[in-house]
Assembly symmetry: C2
Homo-oligomer: 214 residues x 2
């Protein structure tokens, strides 16, 4: 069987996600086709970049016309692994956890938060939209019962490594980590780090640079 999903670079993958959202807007606008230049403008890149990205998985644009919005959308969903739902467990029922749980774009894309865990007794037993917050002590059982594939880690830095290790041992395949620490885990566990301080600090660096350079 030939793979439907070829290896593409990390930066291409991130742009594909942007294209996907753009294509959804185009669909809502009733567009049938889109040219690379138009897609690039809307997604914030260049026409050549769009074409390179799309050609990397043997694309099917039409010369003179552009790409058909529907089929391209379907193909990118496939590449990104969004054609089936993902079972997700959220660890950390603080503010970030709450924001992620309610983030509409996650559910739209098929990321199903099956369970919520926290270690704060004041939070355990609480209910969010029908989902009861359980004790993080039961991480392994919860992951097993949910057959969770993805863990969203939204806990303080000090708690992240231990929880991540336990989740990895329990068979979780990917972790989206919001704790500002580098997780040390077996290679087969995919980790994607989101560090909000990095984002703000990159901005502040850009601002001082702009000051100095006029």
């Amino acid at each position: 069987m030939t793979s439907l999903v070829r290896s593409v670079s990390e930066s291409t993958v991130r742009r594909l996600s942007l294209y996907l959202r753009t294509l959804e807007r185009l669909q809502a606008e009733g567009a049938e086709t889109v040219a690379s230049g138009d897609l690039a403008d809307r997604a914030g890149t260049t026409a050549a970049q769009v074409r390179k990205d799309l050609s990397s998985f043997g694309s099917f644009g039409t010369r003179g016309l552009g790409y058909r919005v529907g089929p391209l959308h379907a193909r990118i969903r496939e590449i990104l692994g969004l054609t089936r739902p993902w079972r997700v467990v959220l660890v950390g029922a603080g503010r970030i956890g709450s924001a992620l749980f309610a983030y509409p774009h996650f559910r739209e894309r098929g990321f199903r938060i099956e369970a919520i865990l926290d270690s704060d007794p004041a939070k355990i037993g609480g209910v969010w939209e029908g989902v009861t917050i359980q004790s993080a002590a039961h991480l392994e059982q919860v992951l097993a019962r949910a057959e969770a594939e993805i863990l969203i880690l939204a806990v303080p830095a000090g708690a992240a490594q231990e929880l991540a290790e336990r989740a990895a041992a329990a068979g979780v395949r990917g972790i989206l980590n919001f704790a500002p620490v580098r997780l040390r885990l077996p290679d087969e566990v995919e980790v994607n780090n989101v560090n909000l301080a990095v984002e703000l600090e990159a901005l502040s660096h850009a601002l001082v640079l702009a000051e100095v350079q006029g």
Copy 2:
């Protein structure tokens, strides 16, 4: 006057932010010096990368010994523009806004949220830790009174462009944008986008790839 801040690549800047946090942990552990290899392990990169990153702004490691933790920390703070406070206004008092407002790492690094805005009448007038949520209709006045330099945009996609334009016109210099849209703004406004759907989709892509490749 020679600039204290040289141009370094975007990826270097992001790693510097990681090194900064690592150095803070080392300081807390009482370490006086750190070798590039150790810093690399803790920050999740390589020794050569660390040395290249640090040498790009004329660093002052000691051969045979490593880098002195305190001075290196101070130098990176300088590079990242963290030696002075930043005046920040938060737009969007939803769940993401709430998480960001309470995120301790922002305040620790001198990002001061001076005002909170929202357009939902149910939220306006609410108070978060002494800060009253004001109407987004008054964006310009609030930005002027706060002399805000940075805007954190945590609003729905549909509202982001208009608010960003108004903030740019009112003189904001940088925007940390959580809305999943590409903002079109004058070049002098720095924009850093955080797109949570992209992060999760990059993870799901990695997982399907791992499945296919064994």
